[in-house]
Amino acid sequence: MPSETLISLRDLTFAYPGGPPVLKGLNLDFRAGETLGLSGANGAGKSTLLFLIMGLAKPQGGTVEIFGRPRRTERDFQEVRPSLGFVFQDANDQLFCPTVADDLAFGPLNLGLEHEEIHRRVAEALDMLGLAGFERRVTYDLSGGEKKLVAIGAALTLHPRLLILDEPTAALDPGTVSRLEDILAASGLPALIVSHDQDFLARVATRRLTMADGFLF
């Protein structure tokens, strides 16, 4: 049995207002069980592509299908975002609560979960990240690597069906990169990873694509 298609993009076109086209009819199928590495030159539209998948930008043409259903409206995307586990390039954009525990609990609180379940998920995520005891730490005091790990934890507490990572290894030391690889493996989740780090992609990706001229190769 072929594995389930989680994300399917058809003929996507997109341009920023007053700018040249970024995507010119892009197609992509992302399946359960795979770790897909995306690379491409600066400005090739990789982050734009991720924003279109998350519904943070709207395509001018084409369809975005997630979990087998076309997604168009804000409401459609609100339904799927918690399952998509998006991690931003700059962890400072993602961690906005005073303490680590507050930040890890933000997603589950939005899902309306019980307090015990939230505590359980926060503890589970800290344990998985190897950051037990960091609950009361202040997010702005963390090192760059710790911030990145907590940002991934913030996606994991949503119990997503996949992870979408934008430049996860940018500005990380080799030690933190290998911790990141362990966490990805331990999560067992399919992942869509945008990265310039070819060595990293070679280690974690099961399939690799390059983005250029508004298409994927």
């Binding site: 924003f51 998350m54 943070l56 609100q78 975002r81 918690p82 998509l84 998006f86 931003f88 700059d90 400072n92 954009d93 993602q94 961690l95 906005f96 609560c97 005073p98 303490t99 525990a101 507050d102 609990a105 933000f106 997603g107 609180l109 939005n110 899902l111 309306g112 307090h115 939230i118 009361r136 730490r137 202040v138 997010t139 702005y140 005091d141 913030a154 996606a155 949503l158």
Partner: protein, 248 residues
């Protein structure tokens, strides 16, 4: 380091933050409305007792209080000389009046009583707890959200500012009294604003990705325990005592 002014596990730390918010309001009012020396001293003694109960660290607390007292310096500079009344000690050519000195002293006691009371109750709660408590007591959702976000992003923006300053320095910028300096500072402020707006957009996008739909939920669920009832009763007794002193 934590975000809390005075982390710990004292009796005050264990009180319901909602009660503490009410206590700060009540004690500040008591201090502000004191008209007599004994009433103001009572408010200050109470605040000192709260600080002791909360085991406030003396050093940092004194530092915070001195920031408040800085403003009182101006009162001491003008009030003793401008309030009419029986002349008191003379300083240089100027002579202070007794009512003026008494008023300045009363104000000093009142301000310190209110500030120390606030430090004792606020300092023993985490900021998240305080925001959540304010929300439960009916503070607008947007205001509490803005309070928390400001706390977090003030640091990010000040770091960004520091980085920009360094970038100026490495390119041999030396501030002086000239148009170039003014223009450079204007650009600095401009780019900080632009980056702030950009960051706000990205933060909002990141919040949407985690299921944010416009409601700000809080983690804390408070319980009003026996200790809180005891605290509330004690506070009520102290408040009525202070009010009685004020009446005579």
């Amino acid at each position: 380091m934590t975000c809390d002014l005075n982390p710990g596990r004292s009796v005050l730390h264990r009180l319901d933050p909602r009660l503490k918010l009410l206590a700060v309001t009540a004690w500040s009012l008591l201090a502000a409305l004191s008209r007599t020396g004994p009433a103001a001293l009572f408010a200050l003694a109470g605040a000192l007792a709260f600080a002791g109960l909360g085991r406030l660290a003396p050093g940092p607390t004194a530092k915070r209080l001195s920031a408040v007292n800085f403003f009182l310096v101006f009162i001491w500079l003008f009030l003793p000389f401008s309030v009419p009344g029986e002349p008191g000690p003379a300083l240089g050519g100027l002579s202070a009046t007794k009512p003026g000195l008494e008023l300045a002293l009363l104000l000093t006691v009142k301000v310190n009583a209110a500030a120390l009371g606030a430090l004792a109750f606020f300092g023993t709660s985490s900021v998240t707890q305080l925001a959540a408590a304010a929300r439960r007591l009916g503070a607008p959702e947007k205001l509490t959200a803005v309070f928390l976000l400001t706390l977090r992003y003030f640091h990010v923006l000040s770091l960004e500012y520091a980085r920009l300053r360094q970038a100026l320095k490495v390119r041999a910028f030396r501030p002086g009294l000239n148009l170039h300096t003014l223009r450079t500072y204007a650009n600095l402020v401009g780019i900080l604003l632009v980056r702030g707006v950009d960051r706000a957009e990205r933060v909002h996008a990141a919040m949407l990705c985690r299921g944010y739909t416009g409601r700000f939920w809080f983690h804390d669920h408070f319980r009003f325990t026996g200790l809180d009832w005891l605290g509330a009763v004690l506070l009520a007794i102290l408040l009525s005592g202070g009010a009685a002193l004020n009446a005579f």
